[in-house]
């Protein structure tokens, strides 16, 4: 197949991957839950930051997929590395799109690792997966929700004790909440911007890997558009679903978002693979417990999909590998 055609195929797949990642982007959920902005405004903002983040930050963060987990000797075994990478990314995208269609936020890292495990088992004759790394990571996967819950619970309790008690009327309450709404808006925009930069690397990487004469700016714009369309088409369901899990207002959205962002930042600096989705959901549960407000239906489904992410992604990658290998 001519390089141009290969590039076009990879570009289409790259857009599908971006779409899947955008579809499962729950960053804006606190903004909708606390009704700081309407859904239409949120989607416009999310689309702008997705494109801006992809274009301005996407180039510098190209990632390798599954280096430490997949133990395959490509040269001696004749396994097509491009097909492996493509299969992992496509299975990840499918899992993300499917879960987004049901409004369920999942960890894209989990979906990717599920795909890697599937291929490792299929192609490595039992020895293709670095289980010790998986075990090490799984400790952090378990820790993510616990950290999110604990930090938000603590922040909400502190806020209730020191801040809310000092508010002596509707007017003071309104003034305070308005202040929080500006802060949370800025924080979420920054998070959306950096997340778009980070997420776009997965889909940009596969096209760059093909080689050839590629205009990287256009590639980043297309990736950003994929993310934005994902958010607009399916991401709205995830945002709506997540934001309705418990009562949110600007100050509690702040209590949910700030610890989530801070813990994620620490995790990034320490190279700890924490999941933003898990942190956010756990933070919402922490908020609900700290405020004694009920959790609405949906938490059970989210936990179920978290547990099912690995096997579904693994199965998908096993099923998709051979047709993709044939194509490439």
């Amino acid at each position: 197949m001519a390089l141009e055609y290969i590039l076009i195929v990879f570009l289409i797949i790259s857009v599908i991957i971006s779409f899947g990642i955008g579809a499962n982007d729950e960053t804006m959920a606190p903004l909708y839950g606390s009704r700081i902005l309407k859904m239409k405004q949120i989607l416009i903002l999310a689309a702008i930051f997705a494109i801006a983040g992809a274009v301005l930050l996407g180039e510098g963060v190209a990632k390798s997929v599954g280096d430490k987990i997949l133990l395959l000797d490509y040269e001696s075994s004749g396994i097509n590395q491009n097909a492996v990478v493509m299969t992992i990314l496509i299975s990840t995208a499918i899992v993300l799109i499917l879960s987004s269609a049901f409004g369920l936020p999942i960890s894209s890292t989990h979906a990717t690792i599920g795909g890697i495990i599937g291929l490792g088992l299929l192609l490595g004759n039992g020895g293709g997966v670095n289980w010790s790394t998986i075990l090490e990571m799984s400790i952090w996967w378990l820790a993510s929700p616990i950290v999110g819950f604990t930090v938000t619970y603590g922040v909400v309790k502190l806020l209730n004790k020191h801040k809310l008690k000092t508010l002596k009327g509707f007017k003071a309450f309104e003034k305070s909440e308005n202040r929080y709404s500006y802060i949370i808006l800025i924080i979420i925009c920054i998070t959306a911007f950096s997340r778009a930069g980070n997420d776009s690397s997965n889909s940009v990487g596969i096209v760059v890997g093909v080689g050839g004469d590629i205009d990287i700016i256009w590639l980043l714009i297309i990736t950003g558009l994929g993310l934005a369309i994902g958010i607009i088409v399916l991401g709205r369901i995830v945002i709506k679903n997540l934001s309705q899990m418990t009562d949110l207002r600007p100050s509690t959205a702040f209590a949910v978002q700030v610890p989530t962002a801070a813990v994620m930042l620490i995790g990034t600096f320490q190279s700890i693979p924490l999941s933003g989705s898990h942190l956010l959901v756990a933070s919402l549960v922490g908020l609900s417990k700290a405020n004694n407000t009920p959790m609405r239906k949906g938490l059970g489904k989210i936990i179920a999909i978290w547990l099912l992410t690995f096997p579904i992604a693994a199965l998908l990658s096993i099923v998709l590998y051979f047709p993709i290998d044939l194509l490439l």
Binding site: R35, I36, K168, G169, K171, A172, S181, D247
Partner: protein, 214 residues
Amino acid sequence: MKLLKEKKNELYEVNKEFLAETLNASALLHEALSSFTNDKLKKESLKGVIQAEKKCDELKDKFTEVLFRDKRALPFLVEDRFKILMMIDTVNDKMEFFSRFLEVYPFKLYKEIKDEFKILYSACSQAVEELVNCAILIETDFDGAYKKTFEIEEKKREARTAKFNLLGKLYKMKDDPTKVYLTSKLVTYMYDIVSWVEETSDFLRGLIIKYPSK
């Protein structure tokens, strides 16, 4: 930002006007009942109550329009403010209904029940006054508003005692059953006003507890 501030100021102004009109209706009703107890019912005062209720309805529509014009960050506060307004508006409706009833009430008040009747309508007008104060205070002073709710509860108790004393006396009367029946209705409708005022103050108390710990 400027627009948001203007909207808020407009909201507070309309609310202030609405509450002032409610207070005016209550004072006019008190005046009418006072004259009624002295067997010289001032029908203009009753008409004043009806007029005030009409004005309150207009202000309510204006308030609702401003309130929901830009429903943003605090929808629960918008909803709560709306509910407070609707509940106070029901107080106005009940005062208006009572006024219309009194307007067509064809008898003079029994001498035997005049004292208890005074207690009932005084408790009624005081309860409405306290409710208006409570609704003003909730904007800036939760503690002050919280105390007011207990004062309203006390007024309701006074009114309840007066109501049953009045009904007890009425039911023992061997007089024209129509007069006894309509007088008992008069008492019941007036008590309904106080009862609703207390229900509104209970709602306000709930909000005062809810907000600082929400």
